[in-house]
Symmetry: D2
Subunit: 474 residues, 4 copies
């Protein structure tokens, strides 16, 4: 039987992330760690020849998982099999000095997490920037804002998109802080007392402390734990997974709103170049990708529950009750968010906007939204407030009833008001007020610009984000 | 029928938090907001007399909820009732200018959240410091570290406590970043375009922008949203609630481990001064408070699910599908974490340690943990490695079997090895090795000091934390 | 300071549920339990006079919580205070024989749960029946079914409502099984060995077994645990809470879809008699109640996480780590679902349907949905399949484009096809096909009838459900 | 790069479950469905030759996923590729008549779920029976029951195990009801109106209704939905996943308690035949498998959140926002529970009990638990109640203090009391009371027998459960 693949990795996540969590990717990071440890140990006086380290570095990427598997079947010990393989390739025996299995596995998993966070940062910035691009492009398209899913006030499409971009930016700030403060467990030994490294360095605490700093530095990690046990606190995993879920929120709100807009044909997520909709039913541009974005977010919320289940549940110095959970939740949460961001980037590239339909919607609802303006104008023209209020209310209710009972198909409030001698408002003046009313979008433009400037700051800080391209999605 | 009280507020949370979320507390913050808005509007040129603001400030704390309720029954409008009450008390009508209901409610709720986060910060620092105090007091008590709940290596009780303190410190760092970057929605109007304030200031965008900054400044809030809709993105609420759950993790791991230690009589959470255990069963010092700490954490995990349910679910510019959820989850999450921290502070104050029992446990397990040391010593004395290994293994297995089948009651490995002529190890030498072995706690002491120094940094930054005292708990 | 009320109980839940969980309600159920125990103990031979039991029954409902609180302040023991109060009222001392505190509290909480489940059953049946009533009333209204939120096929409004009714019926079946198999803990003593009752009955196991059956019988409970410890397994609470969440799903799907329909003005949740929409903006019938229904469901999902957090976490014979969680989750989950059902009943009573708008939507989309029918008709009339396919596709795409770019405002596919000489289809024939097409709703009517019959079965089994009326909602 | 495997399927789940969810397994069930549909269509009059059906049946298990993948690359349509493959193998074109894609995929997924539920039922019964076997074997071993993780009362080990067995039995009953009422979606067409099948049968509703019944019958499914839309209500998936989580609770509580008992060396989960503990540290029998059981349960709780995220979220007749979630949660939840049950069966087979250690624990704590008995005996011997109470309390507290400060190592309460002339209690009498006290385990034995009888009922109903054997675990 063929193995059952990880569906998130196989169908949705990109190589940048799956490469970190694949068997080969894990071996590569493990070797990076061993090399970083050797370098630091050598710098602090341990007798490890520079050539040996160079030899290990040379073969770092020669990864033969079948050979490792053969060794494991012989020795029945997975870590030993990987040590032997690497040492034989390099022709030395200098790795894993003074290290326990957890010194290896915890740190390698943290490297996987940290490198994945860096990938996610780039992709989130790319998604933020792409959303801002769409916001700028549509900055001046007047749109009927909806609250309670019902027409409420004029806004612009650009401002609506900037709103979701800002939500994403909030998650991005949280991610940035997480990356910059992410602490690595380090070589703390079997129960966290650092006994083995202290023995290795003849009881010299300062050297062991320096060792940890240098390893973190070699690996590009910003911080280190001080007093962990066998395991690092699993609330750190919860912090990571909940930040991933946080990051998915902006795109998810955007996707949900685009699904709503597609239902009104105001916009659609578009098609990929190769993809064609049903030719017989060309109106049916299903928001399948947006639905999928929301699906990924639902998965991430389940991952949050799993990670929360591990937090605050440490017994003494630790055990492996978290092990099977972390094997699932850590890669899968990154796969899910990566798939979410890939899909978001694709939707942002393909989405279509239908300005004529958007304008028709405004025509339909704006007269209702402007009744207060009409009232004030009538009063200005000398009509009594009560009279004006009564008359306008009468027409608004009649228009709504007409639209709902089918006796009219277009909003006729303006016509009704213009024809009401009580109100002293000409059709021409009403049309003027209508045109002005549609432009009452307040600071919408200013807001779009401000959010777009934020995106530029991020791109300036991480220029590689500009080059992120989504892969083809299913 | 009496109203059903909020059980978390009534039984567990402290006045510092319940005061913020009580009906009176909410009115007070609402008035703070109105005053801050008036001040900013005045500074930016609106015609609001300084004396009027002073009059409002004077009556800010005259809160009569019964009077407000009477007004609400008349007007059938809650916000209007509270406006009228405040205006009549002050003798002016200058509040709520250019504000919609959401401009009031969203910002007031955010003020409640922000002030609660500040209370939680102080209390978390107090808990961190108290945990460090206990760690320092018990820094030199040798303890058998357990992995998989089974004896593994010597450590110290202080280091175990420092381990949990460091977990709490991680949550504290996340909280601090959240507080320092917390953005307030501001006066964005009905759909987020700031239309009403822009109208109020004659279309001057710069003034409206300055207004928002000044209001945030008056209220002590660090940042502001730019492009929100009717509501601010609910992923911010998720960020808050998941940070609260994160913060509960260190205390929860500590509580779980203390429950385990109580089962071995190594320590107990102690009794409060008034409280007495069963005099007939004085051994039964139940870890009720620690169990409750774990219970609070379970509640918070459910709150995380609720808050996650709101994130990424915004339809257009927003609606009230989040309303009832936030009415529950926002206060309750703060009540639960506050109760958790109150209980943690109490446990840390009352906990008892039984060094004699701890030492007896070490005596029981240390011989097993030192078998490698004995082996090396025998080899040093000229015994063949294989012979030594075989003999020591024999004795270790016999001792374990004896303890488990009841044929011995004390670990007799040392006696067995001393009596084995194959091994050439005297009882005196073994006792020396044993004494030395118990002291092999690596960097435990250094780690305790390092974590305690961290606590001092926090206390220096927030000195009020030193004065936090837990209330009496049930 | 006034106490902070439980917001779900105060604002949303009905007296039928809050009465069970109020302090008075709990005392009443506790007294019911004591009386049931006395009756069973007397029947099995214990010396408890019938008049004593009658005296207790007479004062059962004389509940003075203030008096109980005074006693508790004296004795500092809550159970003792309530025993003393009840005994003094009755003038006897026969309650609580051979019972531990947990024998009282666990069973009373289970009674609260069981009675609440019975209330929920009635209300769920009422909601199911009301949904079926709406389905029957709207059985023949042709509606455009949507998949991916886009027009897909003709259906009927009645069938759509029946679909959500069937989802609710699924939850109802699960609830019914839960009620019929709900096991009560019984008088198992401090650790579950039934020692105290066995002592009370002189070691007679059979009598103790009979005692438990008779108590359950007196209380109307269907089953009993056999081998529990100090506590009953908390997975039972998880089963209850997840069933409540299950039950909320049908109404929640209905509410979400009604929010979508309101966005298209196909229907609205209506207004309550007293309530008036904004007269100035009469189109703005916000789906506030439907949004609230979805909010309640989000809360319940968080409660599921809390209850799941307790399941499978029993240490030995039990402890109180679940206590604070259950104090929150048990009443609150019932309050939330009760509020959800109350709101659903109200919406079902007030909802408005706009058949003219529904028909206009069908006119707009049906031509697209019928393109295959037109194709087959053209082929029947002798047109080549390829020619017909090409021509129809051309018109469909043109029509969609026209609608989206604003060049037409009504779907003109029929006109276009009628005007295409290649296709040999007259406008009259197309109109016939159109009229027939709208009626192609398959088994929609049959399905509505079948689901409505199911509702009648439930009403026949539980006739009281027919009388359930929602209270006024906020 | 090698594909990343599904870690739960690869490492933990058994072939009985993975075979259902593998690509091949899915094709097999799909073909079963097509065959069942053809049989029913033929029985109801459609022109499908019996030989054609026989030919399809003959090649049902000839599954070549590579060939199907080749076809899919050509046609770019997955369902069509699988139709073509099956038809070419059989040499006919009779499958999939009147069926849409969802008629295929929804029902196949439900078949996967249903067949998996049946596998889980057998395995749960096997686990229940194995737990009862262990309970019976250890029925008469006196054990100190613990509440709050502290000694509370004598019970038996068998009773403790029966307690966890009963929790599992609760989940089993819920599972059985779920299986017996599980409704299948059936051939409801694109939006649920059954239009295509009605057309196929010339408008004969009765035949379409009969068709659905017969298909369900052919597939062994107990019930069918009536009025679903494009998709069946996702609350059914929530019901399934929460039942799986429910089922994991009994084993998880058992595993957690065994981890606690291992910490006291009262019992251990044992080793598998091949596996050896560290020879140097033979005391270190880590509860790795029990920890893993708890880990699986944590995963399942996250799956519950995912499934809850889909419930009550249906938009109109449905869409694919659930799709990616169900691809993850449905197989993974079964894999996780299957792994949990496999591990539980293995632990139950290998677990070791150490009666001597258990007895030593009883000796240590029983004197404290019997102080009330000693008091009553002293009073019976003529000692004043107050005098006796004071003296006994004095000795109990002294003994506890002695044990905790290390001045004594064995509980000396009996010796102290025997030596106190105030109490008039001989050591012989005290020893008699002690021996009697240990046997005060109430109905423990009776309860074990009752639970074991329940297991026998299940085995009689599902005899295949007796043959379930766990595979080798990692």
């Amino acid at each position: 039987m063929n193995p059952i693949p990880n569906v998130l990795a196989e169908r949705y996540a990109s190589p940048a992330i799956t490469g970190i969590w694949s068997p080969e990717g894990k071996v590569r990071l493990e070797r990076e760690l061993w090399i970083a440890v050797m370098k630091a140990q050598r710098e602090l006086g341990l007798d490890i020849p520079a050539e040996a380290i160079a030899d290990y570095e040379r073969v770092r990427d020669s990864i033969d998982t079948a050979s490792i598997a053969r060794r494991e079947r012989q020795t029945r010990h997975d870590v030993k099999a990987r040590i032997d393989e690497f040492c034989e390739l390099a022709g030395h025996e200098h790795i894993h000095k003074g290290m326990t299995s957890r010194d290896l596995t915890e740190n390698v998993e943290q490297l996987q997490i940290f490198r994945s966070l860096e990938v996610i940062r780039l992709k989130s910035i790319a998604a933020f920037a792409a959303l801002c691009d769409r916001a700028r492009e549509n900055r001046d398209i007047i749109l009927t804002a909806r609250t309670h899913n019902v027409a409420a006030q004029p806004t612009t499409l650009g401002k609506r998109l900037a709103m979701f971009a800002e939500e994403l930016a909030g998650g991005l700030t949280a991610l940035e802080h997480l990356i910059q403060s992410y602490p690595v467990r380090g070589l703390k030994g079997a129960t966290g007392t650092q006994l083995d490294q202290i023995n290795l360095f003849g009881g010299d605490f300062m050297k062991v402390s320096a060792l940890e700093s240098q390893i973190a530095h070699h690996l590009g990690l910003p911080a280190a734990f001080i007093a962990v046990g066998q395991v690092y606190p699993r609330s750190l995993d919860f912090r990571v997974v909940s930040t991933l879920c946080d990051l998915g929120s902006g795109p998810s709100s955007f996707a949900k709103t685009l699904r709503l807009m597609a239902g009104h044909e105001l916009a659609s997520e578009g098609f990929s170049p190769g993809q064609t909709g049903s030719s017989a039913m060309p109106h049916k541009m299903n928001s399948r990708s947006c639905e999928r974005i929301n699906g990924f977010h639902t998965i991430l919320k389940g991952h949050v529950t799993m990670a929360a289940g591990l937090a605050g549940d440490q017994w003494n110095e630790g055990d492996v009750s978290c092990s099977v959970v972390r094997r699932v939740v850590l890669p899968d949460a990154f796969f899910a968010l990566d798939g979410l961001l890939e899909t978001t980037l694709t939707v942002l590239r393909q989405m279509e906007v239908f300005p004529a339909v958007i304008a028709r919607e405004t025509e339909r609802y704006l007269p209702f939204l402007l009744t207060t303006t009409f009232l004030m104008e009538a009063v200005k023209n000398g009509v009594g407030r009560e009279t004006a209020h009564e008359a306008i209310k009468e027409h608004a209710i009649a228009a709504v009833r007409g639209l709902r009972d089918g006796s009219v198909t277009e909003n006729d409030v303006l016509k009704r008001i213009a024809g009401d001698s009580r109100l002293n408002l000409s059709r021409a003046r009403l049309d003027e007020l209508f045109a002005a009313g549609a432009n009452k979008t307040g600071a919408a433009t200013v807001q779009v610009n401000a959010i777009a400037a934020l995106a530029n700051d991020w791109l300036a800080k991480y220029p590689a984000a500009a080059g992120v391209q989504p892969g083809e999605i299913l």
